[in-house]
């Protein structure tokens, strides 16, 4: 069975600030990032949709110790955002001072852009990730 929205297509769209997901024709749930099946009911009857990229921060952390090859990025803030359409996705929070953020972030409204991780010798090419800023 064909993978409806493989990483390659999701990633290509994300690099153009388009957040793609899957809408289930069985239970209406939205799956993002994509999977083979609906994340709620495992149906394979899915349609590709574009999400708004808007939502609210549910949690965050600021990282000071980076993996090999990413030392020049620290400190950086990772957030999990609950999208208006339902899914939770991971990305970075930008336009803030990572060293000064605290619990007040939780619940803040954000909108999505993207930045590209160019990849390293362990990864299969580059990958965009969502970056969020306050609305």
């Amino acid at each position: 069975m064909e993978y409806k929205l493989p990483f390659k297509d999701y990633n290509k769209a994300l690099k153009k600030n388009q957040l793609m997901g899957l809408k289930c024709n069985n239970c209406e749930a939205i799956t993002c990032p994509p999977m083979m099946v609906c994340s709620e009911c495992a149906s394979t009857d899915l349609s590709i949709i574009e999400l708004s990229g808007k939502g609210k921060i549910v949690t965050f952390t600021t990282t000071y110790v980076a993996p090999e090859g990413r030392q020049n990025e620290v400190p950086y803030t990772i957030v999990i955002v609950e999208l208006d359409e339902g899914p939770w996705i991971m990305g970075n929070l930008i336009d803030i001072d990572p060293g000064k953020v605290g619990m007040e972030l939780i619940g803040k409204r954000v909108k999505m852009g993207n930045r590209v991780f160019p990849g390293d010798k362990y990864s299969a090419g580059s990958a965009a990730r969502p970056v969020f800023s306050f609305i």
Partner: protein, 391 residues
């Protein structure tokens, strides 16, 4: 299915910069486990080995074959199991199943890891491979980051002000170092205070250095045998009476269930049901405290404390010897160390020695312990529980 017992234990000292290779460390632990019940390597019918990053730390894949040859039981089937930090628990669960089924009578299970040979930047990179490479790593996701995210979520969800939560988390690390002092195999023999934790460098907010377990080298192994053979070999077989294993999707995909980890609740339920026991029946527990906050989340999901209250329990000493449920009397991953491929076997060794009553000399025996629990978490994705009993 037959009853299966642990009849031999082996455990190297956990350390930084091991002078021994992964195969050599595992060989030392395995020979101790084989010698305990007075059997020989040729009596072992199969081996199940946890090893995670040997490919990166030593350029060595397939340690299980070289290991088996090294201890003189060459040509028996040997399998490597990889479930990140839970690899050795997976190995023991599978080993259990092969003996319970009647296919083998005596097998060896264990694990080995030499993470410190990689240095911190490469170790941080390779450990991050147990997150989602497509949808997590591009954002700079690492495991301290995972538990930093969970800590802030925990504070928000249960309405515990972050400063208060951080003191509770510090109490976990303080307790772990207290018991680590008494464990001769522990990586750290140094007591720490709440102030030490709260003044240590920030790693991934709100987690500071002393909220995090170290990178470690070490190995541990156990010999499992059918009940019939175990009773001939040793005076006090320690039976595996419950097993559980469950998988998770990546962190964000777990959504509103967080900061609870449903995989743990499923694995624990499987093991309690199989053993016919409840959380109150557990006398001693080794749980996966890779980060201080992880201990709170684990102890609640295992059913020892109400959700949102485990930090309070640590502060009040309910997790110490004499408390409601003694947890990580080994020093835990934090003070004993966390050689990821070996950790599950180390936890089983600890619980088995508690149930045999062998901790008196070390001053950390949980008196009268009859039933113990092991809890191990690997990556985003797998949690295992084992229940052991001397009855």
């Amino acid at each position: 299915m037959r009853r299966v017992a642990v009849v031999g234990l082996g455990h190297t000292k956990f350390c930084f910069n091991s002078p021994l290779t992964e195969v050599e460390m595992l060989a030392e632990a395995a020979m101790d486990a084989i010698n305990e019940p007075n059997i020989k390597p040729k009596d072992i019918q199969a081996a199940f080995i946890g090893n995670v990053l040997g490919d990166f730390s030593e350029g060595q894949g397939m340690v299980q074959s070289y290991f088996i040859n090294d201890i003189g039981c060459d040509q028996i089937p040997a399998s490597r199991l990889e479930g990140a930090c839970a690899s050795a628990t997976m190995a023991i669960r599978d080993a259990y199943m092969w003996v319970a089924s009647g296919y083998y009578d005596i097998v060896l299970a264990g694990g080995t890891e030499r993470a410190t040979a990689m240095g911190v930047p490469l170790a941080t990179r390779t450990f991050a491979m147990f997150g989602d490479s497509r949808y997590e790593y591009p954002a700079g996701f690492t495991f301290p980051a995972a538990f930093g995210l969970l800590a802030h979520l925990y504070s928000d969800r249960y309405g515990i002000p972050l400063e208060k939560l951080k003191e509770q988390m510090a109490a976990v690390s303080v307790q772990s170092h207290f018991y680590g002092m008494k464990n001769p195999n522990a990586q750290f023999h140094q007591e720490i205070t709440v102030d030490d934790v709260l003044s240590s460098p920030m790693i991934c907010s709100p987690l500071q250095l002393h909220d995090c377990c170290p990178f470690s080298d070490g190995a541990a192994a156990v010999v499992l045998a059918s009940e019939e053979i175990a009773k001939k070999l040793v005076d006090k077989p320690v039976y595996i009476i419950g097993i559980g294993q469950a998988s998770s999707p990546n962190l964000a995909r777990q959504r509103k269930y967080l900061p609870r980890l449903r995989a743990r609740e499923l694995a624990a339920e499987q093991s309690y049901r199989m053993a016919g026991l409840k959380p109150k029946d557990i006398d001693v527990c080794e749980l996966h405290d890779c980060f201080s906050i992880a201990s709170l989340i684990a102890a609640e999901s295992l059913g020892f404390f109400e959700f949102g209250t485990a930090g309070n329990a640590w502060e009040k000493g309910e997790t110490r010897i004499g408390g409601k449920i003694p947890i990580n009397i080994s020093g835990g991953l934090k003070a004993k160390g966390h050689p990821i491929g070996a950790t599950g076997a180390s936890q089983v060794c600890e619980i088995a020695r508690q149930l045999r009553g062998q901790m008196v000399d070390e001053g950390r025996q949980v008196e009268g312990a009859k039933v113990g629990m092991v809890d191990t978490l690997g990556g985003d994705g797998v949690i295992l529980n084992l229940i052991l009993s001397v009855e």
